[in-house]
Subunit: 139 residues, 2 copies
Amino acid sequence: MSRPRAKLVKDFPGCAVEAALSFIDGKWKGVLLFHLLAGTQRFNELRRKLPSVTQRMLTRQLRELEEAGLVRRTVHPVVPPHVDYDLTPLGRSMEPVIRSLAIWGRTYVFCAQDEAHVVPPKETTELQGDALRYFADRA
Amino acid sequence: MSRPRAKLVKDFPGCAVEAALSFIDGKWKGVLLFHLLAGTQRFNELRRKLPSVTQRMLTRQLRELEEAGLVRRTVHPVVPPHVDYDLTPLGRSMEPVIRSLAIWGRTYVFCAQDEAHVVPPKETTELQGDALRYFADRA
DNA sequence: GCCAGTAGTACCAAAAAGGATACTGTCAAT
DNA sequence: ATTGACAGTATCCTTTTTGGTACTACTGGC
């Protein structure tokens, strides 16, 4: 949620970075936006893509994204329920941010453990702290 | 800190976005990295640039960035103390991420209140939720 | 009749993050 | 003699965020 950060935005103008971060601050918002870049998704569709998120968390994060103006929630009044989530123009404007995050993650953290061998040795030598431990864990 | 997210990285591989976010997760890390992009900084130098951060928080955030391998802390054993902070190569690799965040923030949230009039009317009409309220507040 | 799928809520508990305040020790300048 | 700059710590407390479990209502298929 952007409440505490929203405050700081006023207390501390000039910080565009923090302002932007306040919109994707929340444990699952980044991934959600990433998946929504691929197009409209339904609630359970997203749930399947984020297996470790609880229903409650998914709902909350989506609502916060909606509140922030990044995501649009469309309820089709049918039974069984049918709810679509997609990006607003503002949400889509986040694409460069999300993409650069995805690239960084792939390059330096490399989530897909089945491809862990692809880690470039040169970069690896630059790693420290968490990143180093991360790679150490899966070596 | 990246501990809780680090866990999810393992539980939920494939999510490069979350992995990357876990490195800048923390209320001040984004700004700190942004300021460090400009070059080496000393502790109180950063403090002056982030007037609303407490000493304790600044220390913590810097230590976490160091632990994560993004920032290097250099202690010059003199008195009075002299400590330099600068980006590691891994930290510098975050530059595209930080820059895109800064651009987004400037474009869509526009922290600098003294330039609030520059908000482009076209974009404004696309705003919803927090973003809308943000602009409403300063209109 | 029972189960699965749809999209959620409600309630309680735990953990994590952040903030406030006060304190350290040395030196240089006023 | 006092103050300020330097770079922090220590302690306590509050807020925020996240997780766990159970529950709703309705329908279509077996």
